[in-house]
């Protein structure tokens, strides 16, 4: 029986109410501030020379946030700096209703009660400047050190909750993360960046931005090297034969990335590349414990040419892209009786995967009637090379070749009808066609009601799908461990959501939402025999939840955000709570100016409640935790110099994330207290 703890919930709700009421007092104080009246008597030259306090956070994107047919969070580069977020996973951990787990190879997104360690985030669509990052094999959204863009190059991140297939397509099952990169205007000249941290971590970056007559460009290159946690202990392997459970120097993480973007007239060309090597310390997939040969390399790259133009009142965006993804996984095994007799005592089995694809997209938006804005578009993608072979690195050893190709296209449209000045109806529909299973239609309907300025109600119904990816459809290895199933159907989700957002002046904002998700044909692992698994459309999930958030931002430089999320997710097939699903998520983020708005302190706390799951036939749980991170950051203390110092897991708590059945261990230990010093210097 999984019982909830009313005591804890009561405390949380009470404390949130408390912070809401105190927020109101703070608001009243803020309103008393005198508005600078001498501004109007200044001439334009004086005004252009004034150093201003830039507004950051949600208020700048109010329309994007309030009129979107979804609950949206906008994260800015300032917040990334002030909280010392190292990866997208760090950003999501601080975002209402999200969390992330780490199996010491990849990070997995948790949202709306749903977190599948090992699913490579195939149910969240990740975009960089509108370009899809999810690859053509695993459809993975890389949010760890394998993410394609250096965090210092991010201008802002829009996190769109709920199924958004109608506009964004197949992957937008639980939401969309759209990362917008900085332009040359934000990094003009040369910028050098560097970082040092615990676990022998170092990073470096050089960026160059230039504006010229008719255009601009930005070039940047980054490198990262971390020894990682070099003495990870796994009690499951506590045996003299396996180094007493200690994975020594097995957590190494190295990456480099390049990014270039530029525009000339109406064209924008962007290119990016990332390559990351990670040792795998967990001995997953039954590999030899503490063997440095077991590692993974992810290499993702793309070129994207975009054309933006307003033609007689119609906004037109066209896009042409070319993408590549390579995955090399090395897995060290001891020879067993099932292996060919001439094999050495231990050998490496390798996944050497390569996908190449290109595609095009066109989108047009036009105000058709005074109150009707129509957007329509089409997209085609040709996955012309998908190779997922598996072989043993043994001369004359086993080899399984596995090549595919497929094409898909989509048509989509969205209508925004302003029924009244206070009421918008947003209706979208998308049709996707896949060679593998045929077509899928995703509708979405939203009513956005703004009875008075500052108050927004949204009612949203959405239907989305996720196509089975190449990995789920075709993957097998030389051990014949996977029974491939080419008849997989898409997963579908129906989502109902009600949102209430309230703005109190330009200072405070609250958001409350409830949702109900019903997921059918969920693709899951299934044991077909003791030695073989298969992906199948087996699970059905129902999830009910709610989120509450209060956010404030003061001209004095203080900013605060606190949220609580509750979700009850149930697997209808097993009639039990959904595995890996925490009921409660609590967040607090706080920024305070320490010295003249040049030095800031940022403190964040994240709480994730207990997660229960079955692991190799046993019911286990990862305990709930509350983790605190603190960052001291400074901007322009010296001209051009930004610096920050962060302490992660300040109280050195023991944290564990759940493991999948690919691991012998049920819990994966996370890092204790670590430090990072980061700087950038522009000249």
């Amino acid at each position: 029986m999984r019982k909830s703890r009313p005591g804890l919930r009561l405390v949380l709700v009470g404390s949130l109410l408390l912070s809401l009421s105190c927020g109101r007092t703070a608001l009243a104080q803020d309103a008393e501030q005198a508005a600078p009246s001498d501004l109007e008597s200044m001439d334009l030259e004086q005004l252009t020379n004034l150093k201003v306090e830039t507004v950051y956070g949600v208020s700048k994107f109010e329309q994007v946030v309030t009129e979107a047919p979804a609950s949206v969070t906008v994260v800015t580069s300032e917040e990334i700096r002030r909280y010392g977020w190292r990866t997208l996973a760090d950003v999501l951990k601080a975002t209402r209703g999200f969390f992330a787990t780490y199996d010491r190879n990849y990070s997995y997104i948790g949202t709306r009660g749903f977190n599948r360690p090992g699913d490579y985030n195939t149910r969240v669509l990740l975009l960089v400047d509108g370009h899809q990052i999810n690859d053509a094999i695993y459809e993975s959204a890389a949010i760890g050190t394998e993410f394609i863009l250096d965090m210092a190059l991010i201008d802002r991140i829009e996190i769109i909750r709920g199924p958004s297939s109608s506009l964004y397509g197949a992957g937008a099952f639980f939401g969309v993360i759209n990362v917008i990169s900085k332009s040359a205007r934000q990094i003009e000249g040369v910028e050098l960046g560097g970082g040092w941290g615990s676990q022998k971590t170092g990073s470096g970056r050089i960026s160059y931005g230039k504006l010229f007559n008719g255009g601009e460009f930005l070039l940047s290159g980054s490198g990262y090297d971390s020894r990682g946690n070099d003495r990870l202990f796994f009690p499951e392997f506590n045996d003299p034969a396996t180094n007493n459970g200690i994975a020594r120097n097995m957590d190494r993480d190295r990456s480099y990335s390049l990014f270039a973007s530029g525009h000339l007239h109406d064209f924008t060309l962007a290119g990016a590349l990332v390559s990351r090597d990670k040792r795998i310390p967990t001995a997953s997939f039954g590999t030899i414990f503490n063997d440095p040969r077991t590692d993974s390399n992810d290499r993702r790259s793309y070129l994207d040419l975009r054309y933006d133009k307003a033609i007689d009142g119609t906004s037109v965006t066209a896009r042409l892209f070319y993408d590549e993804y390579r995955f090399t996984g090395n897995f060290a095994y001891d020879r067993t009786g099932d292996d060919p007799p001439l094999y050495p005592a231990s050998y490496v089995n390798r996944d050497q995967h390569l996908a190449r694809w290109w595609g095009a997209e066109v989108q047009a938006s036009r105000q058709l009637l005074p109150r009707l804005q129509l957007t329509g578009g089409a997209r085609v993608r040709d996955n012309f090379q998908v190779e997922i072979p598996n072989y043993d690195l043994v001369p004359g050893g086993r080899r399984l070749d596995n090549s595919h190709e497929n094409v898909f296209y989509a048509l989509f449209g969205q209508a925004e009808l302003r029924i009244l000045d206070t009421l918008i109806l947003n209706a979208g529909v998308r049709y996707d066609h896949y060679e593998t299973f045929g077509g899928a239609t995703s509708p979405r309907l939203a009513l956005i009601y703004t009875p008075v300025e500052g108050t927004v109600f949204k009612l949203i119904y959405g239907h989305a799908f996720r196509a089975p990816n190449a990995y789920e459809l075709y993957y097998n290895d030389v051990f014949d461990g996977y029974a491939t199933s080419t008849s997989l159907r898409p997963e579908t989700v129906r989502s109902y959501e009600a949102i209430y957002e309230q703005y109190y002046g330009g200072v405070l904002r609250t958001s409350a939402s409830v949702f109900y998700n019903k997921i059918d044909n969920l693709i899951s692992y299934q044991d077909v025999s003791p030695t073989q698994v298969a992906f199948a459309n087996i699970d059905r999930v129902k999830a009910v939840g709610g989120e509450f958030e209060i956010e404030g931002q003061w001209s004095s430089g203080f900013a605060a955000r606190s949220s609580y999320g509750y979700v009850a997710a149930r697997n209808e097939g097993t009639e039990q709570s959904l595995d890996y699903s925490p009921r409660h998520l609590v967040k607090l983020n706080l920024t305070a100016p320490l010295y003249r708005k040049n030095v800031f302190a940022g403190i964040e706390m994240q709480g994730v409640s207990r997660r229960e799951f079955s692991h190799n036939g046993a019911g286990v749980a990862s305990p709930g935790y509350l983790v605190t991170n603190a960052t001291l950051s400074s901007t322009a203390l010296l001209p051009g110099l930004d610096a920050s110092f962060s302490v992660y897991n300040l109280l050195d708590r023991r944290l564990d994330d759940p493991a999948t059945t690919d691991h012998a261990q049920s819990l994966i230990p996370q890092d204790g207290r670590t430090y990072r010093l980061l700087f950038s210097y522009r000249f």
Binding site: G14, C22, L47, T314, W554, A560, L626
Partner: protein
């Protein structure tokens, strides 16, 4: 492990209490630099003086200059304080508009925080009515707007699309042009 659980609960209560304490103190500190949108609002108010308006746009010498703003967010709010002030003898009126609304009575249109897909339609409508368009949307001047406000190293600067201004029969004074980056459409 009940002891740990209690401790966790107490921490949960402490978080917002801490937040409360800090927020209570936050309001008392005074801002040192003016807010971005106060400056942008002052710029809109001031720049109207540096524009030679097409003849006949105002019905008389004391007729109001109507500043319309489209989009949600702080820009609209920052304009409110100039309501009733006079520019070149015209009292200022400030109106909030929705995308798609009739812009017939506007003279100056401020666009802020609207999604890009609305922009082409708004600009098209503004062009037909010869409105002076001002916005802080990135690349506004390049996309066909007249005056863009861009942030450069913590300062608000102008970008002016001279061709768009001429098409809508505005003459922009050399003083204003001197302060601006001149942008050609499509660049």
């Amino acid at each position: 492990m009940p002891a740990i659980r209690i401790r966790r609960c107490r921490l949960g209560l402490m978080l917002p209490a801490l937040l409360c304490l800090l927020l209570g103190g936050a309001g008392r500190l005074l801002a040192e630099a003016p807010q971005e949108y106060q400056v942008k609002g002052a710029m809109v108010f001031n720049m109207a003086k540096y524009i030679e308006w097409p003849t006949g746009v105002f019905s008389g010498s004391g007729a109001p200059l109507v500043v319309c703003s489209i989009g949600r967010g702080p820009f609209t709010g920052a304009l409110e304080q100039y309501r009733g002030k006079t520019v070149l003898g015209h009292p200022l009126q400030v109106r909030r508009m929705q995308p798609g609304e009739e812009l017939g009575e506007c003279h100056l249109l401020v666009v802020s925080g609207v999604e890009k897909r609305y922009l082409a339609g708004i600009l098209d409508q503004a062009r037909k009515r010869s409105l002076l368009t001002v916005s802080d949307i990135p690349d506004f001047a390049r996309l066909g707007g007249i005056i863009g406000l861009v942030e450069v190293e913590g300062r608000v600067r102008f970008e002016i699309n001279v061709k768009a201004a001429q098409q809508s029969r505005f003459k922009i004074s050399s003083q204003l042009l001197k302060l601006a980056r001149i942008v050609r459409e499509g660049e």
